[in-house]
Symmetry: C2
Subunit: 197 residues, 2 copies
């Protein structure tokens, strides 16, 4: 196991897949799709179906001990979902500005401190989407202004309510699950995430 | 805030988007794409770009205090990534069987107990993909047998190595980040996830 461990720590072989051909399939309002033909490390070829997405921001905002959430219909899942505030990036928008904008638009809240906690790929097998997860602190309420085609209800969950929503499947997306874990860690340790050494 | 909180706990209005039209765009090897026209709650219409994906399993497997990981090239991100073992579902395959299969194929490990921890949507805004995250316990080593077009290196990370890999961006996908949080919670509390009440 030792040699394998060493490899996973940075000395693994480079399995870069060289692009031989890239075929655009669809250019949509939010996502686009292409099919790439790639050369594998052994010289054989394979195809990769790849979704391009502008990326998104999501915000952990805790007010009076409760996590701000929005409940909205998610067409791909065909059901209502409870999620932390989030939205896609507009062009070359600054990440922190985007996080402040989404929090304000969806919940009305403004914050003094907005700190990046994690940037993570949602589906690295078929999509390039990265979600930048922020923590908002020193919050004050204001007026929400959701996008035109966005219908949502703002709420706030205690830790127990968040856990119950997970058990009931009303919270079931990666970013919100991560937020609940990170929030629990924060309550237990007094810090968000892990210190960068 | 109170009335809003009550709404987010189950009494929020139903914002179901009724499908007026569904246009298939692409049917691929792994994903498919359609564009739906939907009726919004106010009677106006909008389009939804939707990726269908068979779903996937992912496995948290800890051997001798180390988290099993695989390092592989992710074409959508154009870089190598360190992730927990995972793979898409084959047809109507049983979830637990799929988790055992992926763990065995990618790492060689077999396990006695395989328990579902969370099922979560990766990108509920544009995809129906759900990842079923399992915990494997009572592990014993065996022979790995990755798929034909899968080139990967197996490794195992201590908690400190996992945190460093996150800081360095070598771990940067939602399921692996969730796994690291869940593992830390397990080490601190002796239990995975939260009890269902």
């Amino acid at each position: 196991m030792n040699s394998r461990t060493e490899q996973a720590e940075g000395r693994a072989p480079d399995f870069t897949e060289r692009t031989l051909d890239s075929r655009p399939i669809y250019q949509g309002k939010i996502i686009s799709l292409k099919v790439d033909t790639v050369a594998l490390p052994d010289g054989s070829t394979a195809t990769r179906e790849i979704i391009s997405h502008p990326g998104a921001v999501a915000v952990i905002a805790v007010v009076d001990g409760k996590l701000l959430v929005v409940e909205q219909y998610r067409k791909p899942l065909e059901r209502m979902q409870v999620e932390i505030p989030a939205g896609k990036l507009d062009g070359e928008e600054d990440l922190e500005e985007a996080a402040r904008r989404e929090l304000r638009e969806e919940t009305g809240y403004e914050c003094v401190n907005m700190t990046l906690l994690h940037s993570f790929a949602t589906s690295p097998g078929f999509a390039d989407e990265v979600i930048h997860l922020f923590v908002a602190e020193d919050l004050r309420p204001g007026e929400a202004a959701p996008d035109e085609d966005e219908f949502l209800t703002v709420g706030a969950l205690t830790p127990e309510e968040a856990v119950r929503a997970i058990a009931e499947g009303r919270i079931c997306d990666a970013k919100t699950l991560l937020a609940v874990y990170a929030w629990e860690k924060y309550r237990a340790t007094g810090r968000w995430g892990w210190p960068v050494r």
